[in-house]
């Protein structure tokens, strides 16, 4: 995430307001569950605050409770233990990355085909767009189960969901990028009698790099979402999605919130990493960002 000058203070102020609103919201929202404890502690303002901000199973946990739970599940447990949040992050991350790489390759391949064949472009493009209007993410858990019953288990089925979601933005972005060179540049290659492959390699691909990175940032975020939803089917045991589901079924509020925060941190880090690679690559290619 790029930060421009003059953003730091407004961002901090708004975050601060959000935290304050969050703490205030805890009081009425947790009132129902905390009622008995507040009464037991003798009622009053102080008791209301301590109980609604520290209830073990709150409707909405206070920020410091989430922080404490994150600390406990990340730093006090060995990362390979099943109770460690890092272990679940790794499960989700690995299938995200596999799906992201497969989806990117598929997307680039499709885009190259589409750019070079008018017939393929006409036949494929409407289906590629239509494929995204199907709420595939919503049926991801079923696909996992189907693939599981057919003998595909573990990381691959989840990764395929991510692949499916990833390829679309990459294809669309790359088609735009590969078509982006000016007519004069294409005419220049034509005067050299360059082959289609040479034009692709020396002109179209370099020209498409900025478009590729824009798509990759969308793709990596959506790949992670795909992996998480892919972990939702009943019986899933590991991953951020499984934590969400188990937490939801057992009313473990803190587990849900920690999983959500962990997923968010991963998403932001992955997008930042792609953005970092973008800046480095474009700088090397002499493109001014």
């Amino acid at each position: 995430m790029k930060t421009e000058r003059g953003q730091a203070i407004p961002v901090l102020v708004i975050c601060l307001i959000l935290v304050v609103v969050w703490y205030l919201a805890c009081i009425p929202m947790n009132a129902v569950v905390a009622e008995a404890k507040i009464a037991a502690a003798g009622g009053g303002f102080a008791a209301t605050l301590t109980e609604s901000w520290n209830h073990a199973r709150p409707v909405i946990p206070a920020p410091h409770q989430i922080a404490a739970d994150l600390w406990a599940t990340v730093f006090t447990i060995a990362p390979w233990a099943k109770k460690s949040l890092l272990y679940h992050c790794w499960v989700t991350l690995s299938s995200t990355l596999v799906g992201f790489i497969l989806g990117t390759l598929l997307g680039i391949g499709l885009a190259i085909l589409i750019v070079h064949s008018k017939l393929l472009s006409k036949a494929l493009m409407p289906w590629i767009i239509a494929s995204q209007t199907i709420p595939i993410l919503a049926i991801a858990p079923m696909i996992i189960v189907v693939l599981g019953a057919m003998g595909f288990t573990g990381l691959l089925p989840k990764a395929l969901i991510s692949t499916y979601l990833c390829f679309f933005p990459v294809t669309i972005g790359m088609v735009k990028g590969l078509m982006s060179p000016d007519v004069i540049h294409r005419d220049l290659m034509h005067t050299y009698n360059a082959s289609a492959a040479e034009t692709l390699w020396k002109l179209r691909l370099p020209a498409s790099v900025p478009y590729l990175f824009t798509s990759l940032k969308i793709a990596i975020a959506i790949a992670l979402t795909g992996a998480i939803v892919g972990e939702l089917p009943t019986g899933a045991v590991a991953g951020i999605g499984a934590r969400l589901l188990i937490g939801s079924y057992n009313g473990l509020t803190m587990m849900i919130w920690s999983a959500l925060v962990a997923g968010s941190v991963m998403a932001a880090s992955l997008v930042w990493l792609v953005g970092y690679a973008e800046r480095k690559t474009l700088a090397r290619m002499g493109v001014r960002a």
Partner: protein
């Protein structure tokens, strides 16, 4: 006539896929419970029309559409506020960019916990998922007008409101429609996924889940087909509206 010819190639491909699918289901003994043939799914759709229509009502009419409208409207209003108050923009733009990449479907269990068993948690999930794409896109759109055009407004001594309605909002329309289209897909996903967590007793997501439980895969696929058709129609309607509103954009000019 040209439109018909443009439909021919993709239609042929679609039919080819269906034929191959059907043939594969007959030739290779794929268990019916895993991947039913298109003909089987078609037959199930024909017999289950009332049930499918009821689920469509529960999911699309009651959750997707209201959530999509509220989420998009809220995103647009906040974007306009950001446009008016620079401090808000500088604070909210980075946060909006941050939130728009998060796996927000994950809030579904929390919404179910907060809003109980009705349709409310499903709407809430859709609102949360559609809000940020609209905010980020609308803000980008409101800044899309050129320096020259803004100088022109300044030379007329136009008020913020006048510059907004005559310049920045029309210029933002392609971006706003982009968000509306992205959000149409997100809204379907949000509403269906939220049903996996909820305790609703009808709806497309609920039916898919129970269909799985009872191994009636043809019903699951029937729901998937309905979702696909609804999603595509939703999207197509938005594309038509977009063409009508942003006819002037270079990508549509005739």
């Amino acid at each position: 006539m040209k439109a018909l010819r443009n439909l021919f190639a993709p239609a042929l491909l679609g039919v080819a896929i269906l034929v191959i699918w059907e043939a594969a289901c007959r030739a290779i003994p794929i268990p019916q419970v895993l991947l039913p043939a298109p003909s089987v799914i078609g037959a199930r759709i024909a017999t289950e029309i009332p049930l499918l229509a009821y689920d469509f009502l529960k999911t699309v009419i009651q959750a997707v559409i209201p959530g999509w409208i509220i989420g998009c409207a809220a995103g647009l209003v906040v974007a306009l506020l950001c446009d008016r108050f620079d401090f808000l923009k500088r604070g909210l733009l980075p946060l909006g960019n941050f939130f728009s990449v998060l796996p927000l479907v994950g809030v579904a269990p929390i919404m179910v916990m907060w809003f109980g068993t009705g349709v409310a948690p499903n709407i809430a999930v859709v609102v949360i998922m559609t809000f940020f794409p609209m905010l980020v896109n609308a803000l980008a759109g409101l800044q899309a007008s050129s320096h020259l055009e803004r100088d022109l407004m300044r030379s007329y001594n136009a008020s913020w409101m006048q510059a907004l309605t005559s310049l920045r909002l029309p210029a933002a329309m392609p971006f706003i429609f982009n968000a509306l289209k992205i959000n149409s897909t997100l809204a379907m996903i949000g509403a269906i996924v939220a049903e996996f967590f909820g305790t609703r007793i009808a709806g497309m997501g609920f039916r898919m889940q129970t269909g799985f439980g009872s191994m009636s895969l043809d019903l699951v696929w029937a729901e998937i087909a309905v979702a696909a058709v609804v999603g595509s129609l939703f999207y197509a309607l938005l594309v038509l509206a977009e063409r009508a509103v942003t006819f002037w954009h270079p990508s549509y000019r005739v």
